[in-house]
Amino acid sequence: MATLQFGKGIILKKSNNTINNSNNNCNNNCNNCNNNGKSTKENNSQNIIEIKNVSFYYNETEGLPAVDNVSLNIKRGEFLAVLGHNGSGKSTLAKLLNGLLVPDSGEVLVNGLSTKDESQSINIKKTVGMVFQNPDNQIIASIVEEDVAFGPENLGFTPKESRERVESALKAVNMWEFRNKAPHKLSGGQKQRVAIAGVLAMQPECIVFDESTAMLDPKGRKEVMDTLLNLNKNNNITIILITHFMEEAARAKKIAVMNNGKISAAGTPKNIFSDYKLITDTGLALPQPTELLHTLKEKGINVDVSAVNTTDCIEVLSKLLLKEKEA
């Protein structure tokens, strides 16, 4: 067999997870992590993550960078969607955010801490949680509650504290009644919610969803989307959603479009989806309602194309047709 390459799976250079001595003192102020901005006094900056001129190569000797001189600030409490075709570098970007990968040049700051600083590795991973694509490959234990406890156990919480965290995390994703089940008996959406609970139990300030809905059916996708919208709204957790589904991105507050390792555009869903050229050039698609509006515009009808969901689209078209009827 020729050389096996597991795509983005193999990390050629990854941060060395050295033993973290600051483990215990960071546990103490963790309970108020969710009241964001208060957790660390020196960090009342409104950006939770700052990406500064970051480049990353999977293979430095040959080939193009997977992430190419990207700069982006992510505000506290924001809901950011990252769009891009396969191989556009968006998953690499995701892994740079919590220090799974470390930039070759530039810097990623989480609450002002650089991911290059190995002594802060645990602190950063605790602040920026990750939910991955394949629900099966991120659940570690054979029982739901034990899996959710994995994070708190690693952080060295007392059994009592861990229990409390597991309970509140499982309740937040509506999986409390499944706490004694084996993960492989659950549906895809349920497994993904367990994975979210596993991250929540670390009480992160930000959660990155790396194509976490890609392998789910519509029902599972809805479950995950409802959960993450709820976490964003009610727990004020910053959400970064990497997805191929335009309808999901349309629900975000802000969209960043990646292409060839660069961020080619960033803006509100309305802004992004009104730009037909951008969408086609970067290998994306439009949500069906927006596609309808764009098609009408192409046919010479003067219509506002910025509606990104069905309700808005109906409104725009109703107004348009009514006006024409009256005229």
Binding site: N20, K95, K125, M130, N137, Q138, G151
Partner: protein, 269 residues
């Protein structure tokens, strides 16, 4: 079909044995095995076998379920019995045919060995039927914990983590194997026919994808674990605490009595 293989033998019941601390259960199992071997005459062996049956009764699992496990080792029992029957001389000659001679002591030895093997299997089944694989892993980890003082802390933890992950992924891998087999069958692969070499060759289309997907899984799992602040044994505190309760002390005392009586019977007769 592969899917029918159920993993782990745990049978959920609300019994005293189920509720015992898994560490104690594992420890006592080892002790019972040792004492079954130590029982050197019919009285002591029958006594410890009776105690074993009493434990089976306490586990609330039907004898039929237990004896399913014995069915599988019947060939071994027959083989050892025959060897014992044929090669022990002494007592009166019961049967002779050419060079085959069977004495009463041979029959006695054969019965003795059979009872001993059956007791061993039964007592071992108690552990596997009444303890979940996860509990068992935890028990092994804590029983090995003295090794930590020999500077092997990480080794013990790593072993236990490996077992946990293996238990978690066995169902997934079984399912995956099944799926890959079906996919290759849909491409006309046949796995049932042909000579040995042809059959081994026919396995490649299944083994290679399985291997590749396992490697991919392990990378993804490693990333997920790292993202959840996994750092080996360092600073890790388990949520599940194991405490000895009255039931445990009682069972421990009961077993000590059984072991003592076994030894006394050994000495008396």
């Amino acid at each position: 079909m592969i899917k029918d293989v159920s993993f782990g033998q745990y049978i959920s019941k609300n019994s005293l044995i189920h509720k015992l601390d898994p560490r104690l259960k594992l420890f006592l199992l080892i002790a019972y095995i040792i004492f079954i071997f130590l029982a050197s005459n019919a009285y002591s062996l029958l006594f410890i076998t009776a105690a074993t049956f009493f434990i089976l009764f306490l586990s609330k699992i039907s004898l039929k379920t237990y004896f399913k496990n014995i069915r599988m080792i019947i060939p071994i029992i027959i083989f050892t019995s025959l060897l014992n029957a044929l090669y022990s001389g002494g007592g009166t000659l019961l049967f002779s045919y050419g060079f085959i001679k069977i004495y009463t002591s041979g029959i006695y030895r054969a019965c003795f060995m059979t009872v001993r093997i059956i007791s061993l299997i039964l007592i071992s089944s108690v552990l596997s039927y009444t303890t979940t694989p996860t509990d068992l892993t935890d028990a092994i980890e804590s029983l090995l914990s003295p090794l930590k003082y020999l500077g092997l802390k990480n080794a013990v933890h790593t072993m236990a983590m490996m077992m946990t992950i293996a238990l978690r992924f066995i169902p997934a891998l079984i399912e995956e194997t099944d799926k890959i087999m079906s996919s290759q069958k849909a491409r006309g692969a046949s796995m049932e026919s042909g000579g040995l070499i042809k059959r081994i060759k026919a396995l490649l289309p299944i083994l290679i994808p399985l291997l590749i997907s396992s490697i991919r899984r392990s990378y993804e799992l490693a990333e997920a674990m790292e993202s959840r602040c996994y750092n080996g044994a360092e600073g890790r505190v388990r949520m599940k605490e194991m405490h000895f309760i009255n039931k445990d002390y009682f069972s421990f005392a009961f077993s000590i009595v059984v072991f003592s009586v076994t030894i006394i019977l050994n000495i008396l007769f």
